[in-house]
């Protein structure tokens, strides 16, 4: 059963990821991104991270991709990009070599260290069979207990990001220059 879930989710993730890279239309790339994000959410559920799966669907597939689509429509760049022609001939083969190299190195590191991660620790993640709320309870205890300072700093980060973006995208009116 876990194998079936893994195979389907991996297919969603890989098809979506390749679609983001290869589709020349930005809207199609954004829709492929949604497919990938849902696949990641499925794997989160199968890995006992229920709260993060919900956040993944709501924040990523909901808010962030909608923001992408909104900007695509707002800017009117929703036309097919010419990805056949390449200004630098050497760039595309080099990029593929770099990508394969990164993937190969990380895969080799994972496979050589699989005995290290094979030892299960003390285990504070209880399976959800016994207690459906255990994941959310543990995560909230961790976020609001051990990492409460980081959580508060995160709120400052969000406020700074929102105010900074409003200032960045504001249109400067000519009248405001005269008043200065």
């Amino acid at each position: 059963m876990e194998l079936v879930v893994f195979v389907f989710a991996a297919a969603m993730i890989l098809v979506g990821g390749i679609g983001v890279v290869l589709r020349s239309h930005p809207v199609h790339a954004a829709l492929s991104l949604i497919l990938t994000l849902f696949g990641v959410a499925v794997i989160f559920v199968s890995q006992e991270a229920h709260f993060l799966a919900a956040v993944q669907v709501i924040v990523y597939a909901g808010a962030i991709v909608v923001l992408f689509l909104f900007v695509i429509m707002l800017l009117g760049v929703d036309r097919t990009e010419d990805i056949k022609t390449e200004p630098f001939k050497v760039q595309r083969p080099l990029a593929i070599i770099v990508g394969l190299g990164v993937t190969g190195l990380v895969t080799a590191a994972v496979i050589t260290s699989r005995d290290v991660v094979a030892t299960r620790g003390a285990g504070i993640i209880e399976p959800a069979m016994t207690d459906p709320d255990s994941n959310i309870r543990q995560l909230s205890r961790s976020v609001f207990g051990d990492y409460v300072v980081a959580f508060e700093v995160t709120s400052v980060l969000l406020v700074v990001a929102v105010v900074g973006t409003v200032l960045l995208t504001r249109k400067v009116k000519p009248a405001s220059k005269e008043s200065q």
């Binding site: 194998l3 991996a10 990821g17 890995q47 080099l94 990508g99 990380v106 991660v117 620790g121």
Partner: protein, 108 residues
């Protein structure tokens, strides 16, 4: 057949290899594509690959700290997308249809 399927239960290594492949796809996308919006989407792919490996290791090692890290990564990714798209909007308003080669000099 059922014994074969039972023997092929996905281990943590499978999830980590999947995350590595997704990260590689994102890397190629950032390096190849010229549209700044699509490059941002590829950065999201890379962030999701890292989140995937964090969650897989959190289950394997029995440590909820991995899921806490993913929580913070998601918040920072949301802030990063907001700021990045704001910059892209303000650039595109001045120069419609610009790709990343046109704005490589970082001046209007």
């Amino acid at each position: 057949m059922s014994a074969l399927i039972a023997a092929a239960t996905p281990t943590t290594t499978w999830y980590l290899v999947l995350a590595a492949v997704l990260f590689g796809i994102g890397t190629v996308g950032v390096l190849v594509r010229r549209n700044p919006l699509v490059m941002f989407m590829c950065i999201e792919l890379m962030l999701n690959a890292v989140n995937l490996s964090f969650v897989a290791l959190a289950k394997r090692l029995g440590d909820i700290g991995g899921q806490t890290t993913v929580f913070f990564v998601m918040v920072v990714a949301a802030a990063e997308v907001v700021v990045g798209l704001g910059i892209i909007v303000s650039i595109m308003r001045k120069r419609p249809g610009a790709n990343v080669d046109d704005i490589s000099a970082l001046k209007g």
